[in-house]
């Protein structure tokens, strides 16, 4: 009976009901969008940094992690590689020779991290070729090609085809110098990386260092990101004398950024939900006062206070459920659409971002449980917000309420 009255009440005054309904719908859709956007933002940064720079897991000689000396290499890297490749959970793996050195053109010199790579496997792991802006990715230069960053090229006044001298310490502790030819120039999203990192072929640098099989680092991507920690443990057990580290340990800067960004985004989503709550509270409150006369009439003809309270709550529940359902649909639609389309942050932040090209497209996404959680939260807020107005309605004195115009 009450349910019927409540349901009829809603449709008796469509514009009022629609107002509340739309407020809940928009609020929920906005809260969902905000969460999806945050997730997409955090994910985007992760993809950019982890998949293209750090990889999921790296393996080193423990001493190398500490000192980074060229003599602290991996023993039997080929064998380690073969064993890792056998692991089903590993998607892609590559090894690198790493040595610190100084790169010099005729005029300027600078400290760099020299990475000796196998261009093909490296390409599969980090899509290094994808950053190419000029020249080619290890093609066209037969002896000693070097792949350098745009920033370093500018600093050294070097171009494709320029000769550069690399100075570094070899395995015997002697300073070695060798001439390399710029084969290609890359530009990543990290200017500091572009200024301080160069790539050469392992087959070129290893003989100069004094050992054909030399490698300091093995980096890999996993097939199943969710089971990364078990893969890490597995590898650590397999190679107890080596140091196996996952991305959290490797890129603390990213973890820090991630933490700060996600915390502040969560905080903002919370603020949005509060805003939604206050909106509903005020609208419901206003609607109770608007209905003073009507409610007073109901009480005067004998409806008890409990029933009035229940009726208002029921109305709110109907409205909230309908609003929440509509909001979910709207939010889901928007997120799916924008998830495909992407949001270009440059359009919000202005031109300063446009010049970077990379990293400003956000693809919002939300996992299914999140929809339900947010929906439940919004419903809860709606109901809580309805409580106060419903209590207010209880305090109406029928005799006065009826007389009000």
């Amino acid at each position: 009976m009450l349910i019927k009255i409540a349901w009829r009440n809603i449709w008796r005054n469509t514009s009022r009901s629609l107002t509340i309904l739309i407020a809940i719908m928009i609020g929920l859709a906005a809260a969902l969008m905000a969460s999806a956007f945050s997730m997409g933002f955090v994910q985007q940064r992760f993809n950019n940094v982890i998949e293209r720079f750090v990889s999921h897991i790296q393996i080193h000689n423990p001493d190398f992690v500490h000192d980074g000396e060229v003599t602290q290499y991996l023993t039997n890297p080929q064998e380690i590689m073969q064993q890792i490749q056998k692991n089903q959970a590993v998607k892609q793996v590559a090894m690198r020779t790493k040595v610190n050195g100084i790169i010099a053109s005729a005029k300027v010199s600078g400290g760099v991290q020299i990475n000796g790579i196998d261009p093909e496997t490296e390409q599969k792991l980090t899509d290094l070729n994808g950053w190419l802006v000029k020249g080619a990715y290890f093609e066209g230069v037969k002896r000693n090609p070097v792949y350098i960053g745009q920033e370093l090229a500018n600093k050294l006044k070097a171009d494709v085809g320029s000769r550069l001298v690399l100075n570094f310490q070899n395995l015997d502790g002697e300073i070695t110098a060798a001439s390399f030819k710029v084969v290609g120039i890359f530009k990543t999203i990290d200017v500091a990386f572009d200024e301080t990192t160069v790539f050469v072929q392992r087959t070129d640098i290893n003989p100069l260092l004094g050992s054909e099989q030399l490698a300091h680092e093995i980096a890999l991507l996993s097939n199943d990101f969710d089971r990364l920690s078990s893969l890490k443990q597995q590898l650590q057990q397999q190679f107890p004398e080596l140091e196996v580290r996952s991305w959290e340990k490797l890129s603390q800067e990213l973890v820090l950024m991630q933490e700060m960004t996600s915390q502040s985004l969560i905080f903002l989503v919370f603020i949005i939900l509060l805003g939604l709550g206050f909106g509903i509270l005020n609208t419901m409150l206003m609607s109770v006062f608007e209905r003073t006369r009507e409610l007073g009439m109901l009480m005067a003809v004998g409806m008890n206070k409990k029933s009035v309270f229940q009726m208002i709550m029921l109305e709110t529940i109907f409205l909230s459920f309908t609003g929440a359902a509509a909001g979910m649909l709207l939010g889901f639609g928007l997120i799916s659409w924008l998830g495909n389309q992407g949001i270009n942050l440059a359009s919000v932040a202005g031109d300063s971002l446009a010049i970077y090209g990379y990293g400003n497209m956000i693809y919002p996404y939300l996992e299914t449980p999140f929809y339900l959680q947010t929906a439940v939260l919004v419903l809860l807020i709606a109901l809580l917000s309805a409580l106060y107005p419903a209590f207010k309605a209880l305090q109406l004195v029928p005799a006065e309420a009826v007389r009000k115009e």
Binding site: G27, A30, I175, L268, E290, V348, E405
Partner: protein, 405 residues
Amino acid sequence: MLFILAWRNLWRNKRRTLITASSVFFAVILALVAESMTKGSHEAMVSNMVKLSTGYLQLQDSLYEDEPSVDHAFMYDDTLKQIIRQTNGIAYVVPRFESFMLAATEKSTRPVMLRGVDFEAENRLNEMGHKLLAGTSPEANDQAVLLADGLAERLKMNVGDSIILVGQGFRGMSAAGIYPVKGIVKISLPRLNDQLIFMPLAATQQLFGAEDRLTALLITPEEKGQTDLLAEQLRAQLDPQWFKVLTWKQMMPTLLQSLELDKASGMMIIYMLYLVVGFGILGTVLTMMLERQREFGILLSVGMKRSQLALITFVETVFISMIGVAAGLVGGFPIILYMHHHPIRFGEEMEAMFETYGMEAVMPFALDVQVFGSQAVVVLLITLVIGLYPVFKVFRMNILKAARN
């Protein structure tokens, strides 16, 4: 006359006015908190990074940025000092002479960054970032060095050991010397902590054969927000053929980019907040219009012009929003003040990581007049747009129906 009517209308039904004003009030408070948080964390990241690395402004030789060689160190003479002294808005300056060199011990050689500094000025710029771990800081006229602890570890050096520095001096001279390690310092920027050596400025200039020359003069403005303006002022006074003035934004584009991305994502969410609070206020105003239909109907039927009535409702909305915004500013101030002094803390496990980067593990809130001003204006604008609805409604109102309601 109309104003008086509108004002009286407000107080005729206080409850209604208060509900509407309170929805504006909450909107302002939430917008304030959200914006203050976004701005606060943004500023904390900037000042942290800026203080640790480049400073807010740098004065350099015009060729140094493209070709950071000691050959492009500039003369820090009386004319220049005079200009600095006479420019308003400079808090203090930090002179530096820095260059890449090779550092050698008995066992190994590593590329290092030698930074000749005025220790007093450096500490003023960044007291948090440099933590003395062992020994003491060299005096201004000492021939000794202060090692970053990551580098000291890699070179396996302690206080009292001697370090050999080899590099290229000023204009073809060679720079080589042996110096005692007087202290070891921790720098909250891992990348620098592994390669930085501090030396008193005079000793450094002497080593390079570049007396009175600097590679960069860091300038700290009195007001951080005036950085760009100050840069312009300095540029106007210096010959661009010889000098270049760079801001941190120009020197650290990667940082700027990631900050801009952060800011843009925060803005996206704040827009959604505006949407939600906007609908909250709209809901209240819509319901208010329903409540007053009869009143308006009667007013119109006794001969009030629609335009007059529309004006009155609009003026009422303006009054209500001003009351709400003013109350929101007054009510928001203590909240922001409290949050500014008691920022939200991150979990304990994050604290160590934040400390590595010389940051406090908190979500800071900015206490800034600009935040109050901008949010007041935004919410006021939203409310005024919403205030057009009653106007529109009055013009379309069916008098007979409304009066009979």
